[in-house]
C-alpha cells in the first residue's frame, strides 16, 4: 500500500465525513485494484467524485469500467477480490454489513434494461417498497414523481398498470432509471446506460440524465467520449485496456 506517500490527504475517519468544510465527496477511491486469484484485472486507480457533480468515467472496452462501478456497491461476481481504500457516501462497500442500505442510497443502473415481471408501476415501486415503510399512496406518489424525473411520465401516465415488458427498450431503460430515482438516491451509478439503445432512445435517456444533473451525484461510465462531454462536469480516463480484454466477462462466464 502506498498510503504513506499520500501524506497531505487526511486519513479518513471511520464514519461519514461530516466534519470536512466542503461537502464530503460522494465517492473516494484510493489505489483500487481488482484481482482474480493472483491476476490483476483492474487498477490501481484513484479518483473521487464530488457531491452533487456528474463524474464521467471513460475507457475502452475491457478497461474495467463496469468492474470499478460494481465494486463501489459490492456487486462484483464471486471470486473477484478488491484491494485499496473505497469510500462511497462515507461507507466502505467492501464490508458486507449494511450493504443493502448503501445500495439503496447509491443505486447502480445497468447497461441493458432489466424489468421485473409486473406492471410499469410495480417496477417503479420495486426498490422503494422494500426500503421504505410508508402507506401505499405515499409510495405511489413518490414512484410517480420518479417517473416524472426520469422523463417517462408523459409516455406511461395512462398505462401504469400495463406489463412493463410492453415498453420499448428506451422506455424500459428510463423505467430502470425511475426505479432508482424513486429511492431518492444520493448517488447514481450509471453503467453505459445508452450503449444498448438506438439513437432516439439514447437521446431520451440522455435527456433524463441531464435532468438529474446537478441535483444528485452521478458517476457515468461510457465509452462514448462525446456523450461524456455533453453530460459530465469532470472526467476520469481509465485509459486503454489494462488487463487482457474482456477478462472480467471471461471470469463471469466460468
Amino acid at each position: 500500500m502506498s498510503t504513506g506517500r499520500r501524506a497531505p490527504a487526511p486519513s479518513a475517519p471511520p464514519g461519514p465525513l461530516v466534519t470536512a468544510p466542503r461537502p464530503a465527496p460522494a465517492v473516494e477511491v484510493h489505489d483500487l485494484a481488482v484481482h482474480c486469484r493472483t491476476r490483476r484485472l483492474v487498477g490501481p486507480l484513484s479518483f473521487s467524485a464530488e457531491s452533487g457533480r456528474t463524474l464521467g468515467m471513460h475507457g475502452s472496452s475491457g478497461s474495467g469500467k463496469s468492474t470499478v462501478l460494481r465494486s463501489l456497491v459490492g456487486l462484483l461476481p464471486d471470486g473477484l477480490r478488491v484491494a485499496g481504500r473505497l469510500r462511497v457516501l462515507g461507507r466502505d462497500p467492501c464490508s458486507r454489513a449494511g450493504l443493502p442500505e448503501l445500495r439503496a442510497r447509491a443505486v447502480l443502473v445497468g447497461q441493458t434494461p432489466v424489468v421485473f415481471p409486473g406492471s410499469v408501476l410495480d417496477n417503479a415501486l420495486f426498490g422503494l417498497r422494500h426500503s421504505v415503510r410508508a402507506t401505499r399512496p405515499a409510495l405511489q406518489a413518490r414512484a410517480e414523481a420518479a417517473l416524472v424525473e426520469a422523463g417517462l411520465w408523459d409516455e406511461v401516465a395512462d398505462r401504469l398498470d400495463q406489463p412493463a415488458r410492453t415498453l420499448s427498450v428506451g422506455q424500459r431503460q428510463r423505467l430502470c432509471l425511475a426505479r432508482a430515482l424513486a429511492l431518492d438516491p444520493l448517488l447514481l451509478l450509471l453503467d453505459e446506460p445508452t450503449s444498448a439503445l438506438d439513437v432516439a432512445a439514447r437521446d431520451a435517456v440522455e435527456g433524463a440524465i441531464a435532468g438529474v444533473r446537478g441535483k444528485r451525484s452521478v458517476v457515468l461510465v461510457s465509452h462514448d467520449g462525446r456523450q461524456l462531454d455533453r453530460l459530465c462536469d469532470e472526467l476520469v480516463d481509465l485509459g486503454a485496456s489494462t488487463g487482457p480484454s474482456g477478462a472480467v466477462e471471461r471470469h463471469q462466464d466460468r
Partner: protein, 600 residues
C-alpha cells in the same frame, strides 16, 4: 406532481428503519433440516436394522437358500432375479428409447414435439400398479402362450413389463441431452453438406452421448427399484438360482427379486429385530446402495457431458450412392422406434378404457366397495385424496425450502453434493420408503396404520421432484434481474421473497403436481403404513390407528385375485379411476409448465 410528494421524498431523514425479512431463510433452514433428517432416517433405519441381528454377508450374497424357519438367509437367487429382470428391460428399452429420443429431438417437427413429449411423459406417469394389472391380465397370458410357461409368471414377463416402464425414463432423459446440444452444431454440420442422418450420427449424438448413457443408467436405477408391477408377474418363487448355462432358460420360469421379497408379507412377520429382520434390511441396503451408485454415476456423466461433451467424432461420411437411401431409412427407423412408446401409450389407454367400463357408471365413483367384486370405490377415492392432499401440504413448503437451498443458499460445491443427494432420494425405491415409514412411524411412534404416516411417506416421493423443479427454475433466473434487485438495496430475504419465490412459483407448482401424480399411484409405500383393504372409515379420525383405503392398494389386492372375473372387473375400473386422477394432476401442471417453458 412534485408538490404532492415533497413531504415524503425530502431525503434520508424521512427514511424509516425497515423490518428484516427473515422467513425465507427460516423456511429454507427448517425445510432442509427436515429433508436431511428424513434422508438420514431411511439410511439409518436400514443400517440399524441390518446390525440388529448377526448377519453373514458372504452367505447372503452367495447362497440361494432363503428359509426364515431354519435361519438360512441367502439372497443370491433374488440378486439373480433382479439382474435378469433389469437386463431384459434394459436390453429392450435402451436401444428403443435412444432411437425414439433421436426421433423426438431431431426428426419430429418442432410444432409436434411438445405433444409427443407429453405422450411419453404420460406413459411415465401411469401408476406402476396399472402396469402390474396390464402385466397380469395381458402380458402374462401372452408369455404363457409363447413360451409354454405355466400361468405365464416368469422373469421374462417381469422384464417385459419393466421395459415399458423404463422406456419413458430413457426417452425423456435422452431427449433432454439431445436438446441441450447447441443448435449451431447442427447448423454447422448441415452447412458442410451432411444430410440428416449424418448430422445426427456425426455431430448431434456424439455431443449428447454422455447424457444418453446417463439416461440408460437412470433407467436401470428405476428398473432395480420397481416393486409392485414386478411383484404381480414374477411368480415369487424363492431359491431359483440357475447354473450359468441355464440362465437364459431360467428367464421363462418364475423367480424372485430383491424388491418383491421386500414387498411381500415378510417385513411385517419378521418382527423388528433379529436375524430375519436384519437379512431383510440387508436386502434393502443392497438395493439402496446400487441405486444410489447408479444415480451418482449417471449424474456425473451428465455433467461431464455438459462440460466436455462437445467432442466431434471424426467419422468421414462415405459419399456413396446409397447416401440418400440410408438417410431415408434411418429416418424411418427412428420414427418406427418412436411409434413403439406412442403405440404402447395408446394401447394402454385403450385397454384400460375398454376393460374399465365399470368406471363409466357414476355409481362406481359414489358407492362404497362391498367385498372384492361388488360396489364401487368411493372410499378408496376419498382415501387416496386424503393421502395425496396430506402429502401436498407436507411437501410444498419443504420442496420450496429445499429448492431455495439448492439454488440460492448453498455454495457451489455444497449445492452440487446436495443436488446429487436429492436426485438419489428421488430414486430411492419406494418400497424402502414404505419400510422406513413402517419402522419409524407405524411401530416406532406407535401410529399403527395411519393416513398421516402414508402422507409423510408419499411426501418423500414428492419433495425431490418439487425441490429439483424449483431449483431448476431458480437457476434459469436472469442474473441481470438479480443484480438489478440487489442494486436497488434489497436484503437477501427481500430478494428471496420478491424476486426468487415469484420466479420459482411455476416450477414449484409443476414439481408438486408431477410429484403428486406419481404419489397418487404409489402402492408399495402404503401397504405397510397406511391402508387396509376394507373396514376403514371414509374419513379417518385422529392419527393413531387411523387407516384409510386407497386406490392403488385396492387395485393391488384385486390384482392378486385376478382369477375371479368380478375382482378383475373391479380392478380395471379402479385402474381407470386412478389413471383419470393421475391424468388430471398432470393436466393441472400443464399451464404452469407452459409458463416455465415460455419464459425460460
Amino acid at each position: 406532481m412534485r408538490a404532492a410528494t415533497t413531504g415524503f421524498g425530502a431525503g434520508p431523514a424521512r427514511w424509516r428503519p425497515r423490518r428484516r425479512c427473515r422467513w425465507p431463510a427460516l423456511l429454507t433452514g427448517v425445510a432442509s433440516v427436515t429433508a436431511g433428517l428424513a434422508g438420514l432416517a431411511v439410511v439409518a433405519f436400514l443400517v440399524a436394522g441390518t446390525a440388529s441381528g448377526g448377519l453373514d454377508w458372504w452367505r447372503l450374497v452367495t447362497s440361494p437358500t432363503w428359509d426364515p424357519a431354519s435361519g438360512a438367509f441367502g439372497a443370491a437367487a433374488m440378486i439373480f432375479g433382479t439382474l435378469a429382470v433389469s437386463a431384459v428391460a434394459l436390453t429392450l428399452a435402451t436401444p428403443l428409447g435412444w432411437a425414439a429420443a433421436v426421433a423426438v429431438s431431431e426428426v419430429v417437427a418442432p410444432s409436434r414435439r411438445r405433444v409427443v413429449r407429453g405422450g411419453i411423459e404420460l406413459l411415465a406417469a401411469v401408476p406402476s400398479i396399472v402396469y402390474g394389472l396390464i402385466g397380469v391380465a395381458l402380458v402374462r397370458p401372452l408369455v404363457s402362450d409363447l413360451t409354454g410357461a405355466p400361468g405365464g409368471d416368469s422373469l421374462l414377463t417381469a422384464g417385459l413389463v419393466l421395459a415399458v416402464m423404463v422406456l419413458p425414463t430413457v426417452v425423456a432423459v435422452s431427449v433432454d441431452a439431445l436438446r441441450a446440444v447447441p443448435a449451431g452444431l447442427r447448423e454447422t454440420a448441415a452447412t458442410l453438406g451432411l444430410n440428416r442422418r449424418e448430422v445426427i450420427a456425426s455431430a448431434v449424438v456424439p455431443a449428447a452421448r454422455p447424457g444418453m448413457r446417463a439416461a440408460a443408467l437412470l433407467g436401470l436405477a428405476r428398473a432395480l427399484g420397481e416393486t409392485i408391477a414386478v411383484f404381480l408377474v414374477i411368480g415369487r418363487a424363492d431359491g431359483r438360482l440357475p447354473s450359468p448355462a441355464g440362465a437364459l432358460a431360467a428367464l421363462t420360469r418364475p423367480g424372485q427379486s430383491l424388491t418383491t421379497k421386500l414387498g411381500g408379507p415378510e417385513p411385517v412377520l419378521a418382527g423388528t429385530s433379529g436375524a430375519h429382520w436384519a437379512a431383510l434390511n440387508a436386502l434393502g441396503l443392497l438395493l439402496l446402495v446400487s441405486v444410489a451408485v447408479l444415480t451418482v454415476v449417471a449424474l456425473g456423466r451428465r455433467r461431464e457431458g455438459a462440460a466436455h461433451g462437445r467432442r466431434l467424432r471424426a467419422r468421414v461420411p462415405l459419399a456413396s450412392r446409397f447416401r440418400a437411401g440410408r438417410d431415408r431409412l434411418s429416418t424411418l427407423a427412428h420414427l418406427g422406434a418412436l411409434a413403439v412408446p406412442l403405440a404402447v401409450m395408446a394401447g394402454l389407454v385403450l385397454a384400460v378404457a375398454t376393460r374399465g367400463s365399470a368406471a363409466f357408471d357414476p355409481q362406481f365413483w359414489l358407492v362404497a366397495a362391498s367385498g372384492a367384486d361388488e360396489g364401487g370405490v368411493r372410499d378408496q377415492i376419498v382415501g387416496s385424496l386424503v393421502l395425496v392432499g396430506g402429502a401436498a401440504v407436507i411437501a410444498t413448503p419443504i420442496g420450496l425450502g429445499l429448492g431455495l437451498l439448492l439454488s440460492e443458499y448453498a455454495g457451489p460445491r455444497a449445492s452440487r453434493a446436495l443436488r446429487t443427494a436429492t436426485v438419489t432420494l428421488g430414486g430411492v425405491p419406494s418400497i424402502l420408503l414404505g419400510l422406513a415409514g413402517y419402522r419409524l412411524l407405524s411401530t416406532g411412534l406407535g401410529w399403527g396404520k395411519s393416513w398421516l404416516a402414508g402422507s409423510v411417506v408419499l411426501a418423500a416421493v414428492v419433495v425431490p421432484v418439487a425441490a429439483l423443479a424449483t431449483a431448476a427454475r431458480l437457476d434459469a433466473l436472469d442474473p441481470a434481474r438479480r443484480e438489478s434487485a440487489l442494486a436497488l438495496g434489497l436484503q437477501r430475504g427481500q430478494l428471496t421473497r420478491s424476486v426468487l419465490i415469484p420466479q420459482a412459483g411455476p416450477g414449484l407448482v409443476t414439481g408438486v403436481l408431477l410429484g403428486l401424480a406419481r404419489a397418487a399411484g404409489e402402492t408399495a409405500p402404503l401397504l405397510f403404513t397406511a391402508t387396509v383393504f376394507s373396514g376403514a372409515p371414509v374419513i379417518p379420525h385422529g392419527v393413531v390407528d387411523a387407516p384409510v383405503a386407497s386406490l392403488p392398494t385396492h387395485l393391488f389386492a384385486l390384482s392378486q385375485d385376478a382369477v375371479q372375473a368380478g375382482a378383475l372387473r373391479q380392478a380395471w375400473g379402479s385402474a381407470l379411476v386412478l389413471l383419470v386422477i393421475a391424468g388430471l394432476l398432470l393436466a393441472a401442471a400443464a399451464p404452469a409448465r407452459r409458463r416455465v417453458e415460455a419464459v425460460t
